[in-house]
Every structure is written in C-alpha cells, then in structure tokens.
Symmetry: C2
Subunit: 300 residues, 2 copies
C-alpha cells in the first residue's frame, strides 16, 4: 500500500482507524473460536471504539520518514493491544473500579472479573506474537520493536510501573515532579514507543529517533494535561468514560495541583515544546504538527 | 559454560535451579527500585521456591542436543516467568482464590489484589523483553522463541485459553477428552514450548523438534495426571499449595473421572508413551528418560 495521501489529519485518522480495526480483527481469534467467552471479551474491549491515538502517531511518524503503512500496521495494532490490555486491567474493581470505557461497559462489567483478567493477559501475549510474526519486517527490526514495546509496557520506566506508582499516590498530595514521573511511565512511555517504533521501522537514524522520541514525550505530557482538563470539563457522552473520576479517587492531577487556568497555560507551553522538537527533523512534519494541535484542542 | 556434567537427575536439577534463580534475580529490578511494592511482589512470587520444572526440561533437551546452558538460561528463565505470572493470576480471588502457593502466601494475600495483578502483568512483559534482548542468540532464533512462547502462553491453543476453558468447566461434569483438551492448553502447551525452545536453541532439525514436542506432550499429560493424584493423596507440607482444592472447586480431574487406580494405570501408560517418543532420537536421552521417571514418581 502506498503512503497515505491525505495530509489533512482528520482524513488521516479515519484512514488509520480503518486499517487498524481491520488488522485487529484479523489478529484476534473469532468470537466463535473456543474459548468463546474469552474471545468475545477481547473483542468487546478491543474493537469497541477508541481513539487509536498511538497507531495514528506511529503511522504519522512512519509517513514522515517515507515508510508505507504495510510495514507499520501490525506493530501499530500490537501497540493498541498493549494499551487496551492496560485499560481492561486498570478498570478492574481491585484497581480503578470503573464501569464505563470507550462509551460502553468495561470488560469485567459486561463479562466477569476472571474473564477480564484473562482477556487483558491474552491481549498482552498477542502483542508480542504479532510483532514476532510480522513477516514484512526483518528479524533484527522485530527484535528491536519487541524490546522497545516491552520496556515501554513494563518496569521500571514503563506502563505497569506507572500504574503501580499511580496506585501508591492515591489519597495523598504529591508534587508536580512526582505527577510528571507517574505519567511519563504510565502513559508517556507507550506514546513514546509508538513514535519510536514508527521511526525504527522507517529506517530513521538514531538522532532522528531521539528527536521523534522527545517530540513524543512532550506529546504524551500534553495528552495527560488535556486529559486532566477534560476530566473536570467534559461530559460523559463526549468522553466515553466516567468524568470526575480523578477527584472521586482523590487523585492528584495537573488541575488539582495548579488549577484550570495555569494548567491551560502549561498545555500551551508543552505544545510549543513539542513543535520545537520537530524543527530539528529535515522531513515533512506537517502531520506531526497537526497531531500536536489536535491533542491541545481535543474535546474527548 | 560447559555442558552440565551431572547425568544424575537430582544433581542436574540442583544445578539448573541455581542457574535459574541467579538469572531470575538479575532479570527483575531490585526490591529497592521504584515502584518498590511492585518489585517486592514480583520477587515474592518468582524467587520463593518452585520446582523450576520447565527450565529443567528446557536445559535437559538442550543438553541432549549438545547445547551449553549459557545460550538456554535466559529463555528458560523467561519460561519460568510466564509460568509464574499465570500462577499469580490464577490464584486471584476472581479465579481460583487460593491463599497458598509454593509453600508461602499467594501474592494477593501477601500484598494486595491490585499489586498481584500488576506483578503478573509485568512478569509477562519481562518474558518477552528477556528473550528479545538475549544477545547470546541470533535475531532469527529470538523471533522464533518469542513466537513459540507467545503461542504457548496465549490463545486459542495456549495457557490463557486453557485457563478460560478450565473456569468454564467448573461445577459441571466434563468428558475425559474435554479434560485432556483443557490441560493440553493450560499446562501442556508451555511444557511443550519449554522442550521445543531447548531443541530450537540447540539447532535441532525440524523432525527432532517434533519428536521432542511429542515427548513433552506426553510428559505434560503425565505431569497433570500425577498432579491430580497428588491433590487427593499428598499433604500440604509436601505440596506447598492447598491439597484437595480441585474437589472443593468441584473441578473434574482424572481421579474424579476414572478413580485413583485407573488414573495410576493411565500414568504408567503415558510414561511409556513419553519414553517411546524419545527412542526416535539418535541422541543421549538418558536425562530425558530420568525426567519422565521423576514426573511419574514425584511426591510434590
């Protein structure tokens, strides 16, 4: 498949979402395949909407370096799977205990806790199977992608470590630095990995990968800041998950630490940083700029 | 490191256990590394005993094909990690709800449910990071190992699928065929993968890998049959987990389906099958034979 022609972000997102949905549908066993309840649960959480932000970012970075979607889509789907497994487990009663996700019941509400635990587990397994078996990429590239994704998804700097830090920070006041550290692991690491994987598959140089990485770090931070703003300003219909849950859980957020106005200023500053990091790349960065704009202005 | 000289199984097991403990200790962040509670929980479950049966099998197969432990030990540790993550999650209140494992409190009893879920999650992540970053192996071999382990750990034929089938079979009478199908996925797949990975790293031919695979299938079945026998005959001190739990959970077992005497006969038959499959290999199979004998006669 050729480079996606649309430079307009809205069209690009629509195209990537279609590609990702199709790939995810192929990668997960059919609902009728035994054990059916497990596969229904995986499909319920994985194919029931979602912004597909990480795949969009990965394909946009790949595109900036001239890589066609065929070589990117399996890894992009894998990154969406690791993100989805984390949502399923984070929503469990023992963790955030949430009933609503992506505009529908959470996995354990729709099915049951045991099934939700296993659905998350098997989604993580599928992540690594998918990348390991992606015949469009060399073995060396696949190994590097697995290393990137596992470090971003694991510990001590990755997603699970971030969730553990987040749980430990509940019901107590934390510093801005601590908050940034939590989010850098919990959500930032995987956003960074999505961008890095796009550059790696596209054959970018190490300096370029680092620049993309720094752009994605700012983007991840921006994403979290706007998430905290949306949690206090958005309605449930637009958000697709329960708003106001941070306050209910007595979680520290950018808004609770700095107030709405200062948090909005921070968002503008971080957006500027993200754009600044793109300037060092001698590539067509229009789409990556639009993504930063989109994250700044998003309403869900 | 040279081939392990001891052909006596007891000495071999002791040596492999020491190698695996050391490798696992290296692979998991220290307890003092943030998030400390997560790393303490991982270490509690991973380094608190355990037979290390899968690593022993993998190294014994590798040894039969002339491969030194250095190239096998990281993958063997990874397979022990995927096994341990499954134990942590299977023991959760929403699943088997067990208080005792490997002779000590289960992870969620010692820590809490959220930490146990995350400890299992991050152990699975570490599995794939470990294999992807094992510099003693070529990228092609690493990719193949990750594919083998993920299929064995996942769905529709792997460990998580087996656990889902097992949960669905609780509180109802199932057929012998169904029971074998559950165990072939739940525990057989990973035992098979351990043996296959040993042969793959050692550079065995495809026919040899298949023969090893069939031997390991019989061994896995034998392991399950003796597990069911031990569940009704062993004491908690020897078992290190709660005996009689299958009956309490109204789970179908070989003993509940066939009675103790016929189950003992089945064990002898399956042991004979395992040995028969080794005969096709033109290798030193003494250790692999001893492992089959050990599984037949084990008391814990």
């Amino acid at each position: 498949m050729d480079i996606i022609k649309e430079t307009n972000l809205k069209q690009f997102i629509t195209t990537v979402r279609e590609l990702v949905e199709k790939k995810l549908d192929e990668l997960v066993p059919a609902s009728q395949t035994e054990p059916t309840r497990l596969h229904e649960a995986v499909r319920w959480s994985l194919l029931g909407g979602g912004k597909r932000f990480r795949p969009v970012l990965m394909l946009a970075v790949g595109q900036a370096f001239g890589c066609e979607p065929d070589k990117l889509i399996a890894t992009a789907a894998a990154i969406e799977m690791i993100h989805t497994y984390s949502l399923i487990h984070d929503d469990l009663p023992a963790m955030d205990d949430d009933d609503l996700r992506r505009g529908r019941e959470t996995c354990h509400k729709k099915f049951d806790e045991a099934t939700a635990i296993l659905a998350g587990d098997v989604l993580q397994t599928l992540v690594f199977q998918t990348v390991a078996e992606d015949a469009t990429l060399s073995a060396d590239i696949r190994i590097r992608l697995i290393s990137e994704i596992s470090r971003a998804g694991g510990t001590p700097q990755g997603m699970v470590a971030g969730q553990a830090l987040d749980l430990a920070a509940e019901s107590r006041e934390i510093s801005g630095e601590e908050l940034e550290n939590i989010h850098s692991s919990k959500t930032g690491a995987l956003i960074r990995a999505a961008a890095r994987c796009g550059a790696i598959v596209a054959g970018a140089g190490e300096n370029e990968i680092e620049a993309v990485s720094e752009y994605a770090s700012s983007l991840g931070l921006l994403f979290q800041i706007t998430d905290d703003l949306l949690d206090v300003t958005a309605h449930v219909d637009a958000l697709g998950k329960t708003p106001g849950k941070d306050k209910k859980a007595e979680k520290s957020t950018y808004v609770s630490l700095y107030g709405i106005e200062r948090t909005r200023e921070m968002a503008l500053n971080v957006h500027g940083e993200a754009l600044g990091k793109l300037e060092t790349l001698n590539r067509d960065i229009s789409l990556l700029k639009e993504i930063a704009d989109y994250v700044l202005r998003r309403e869900s």
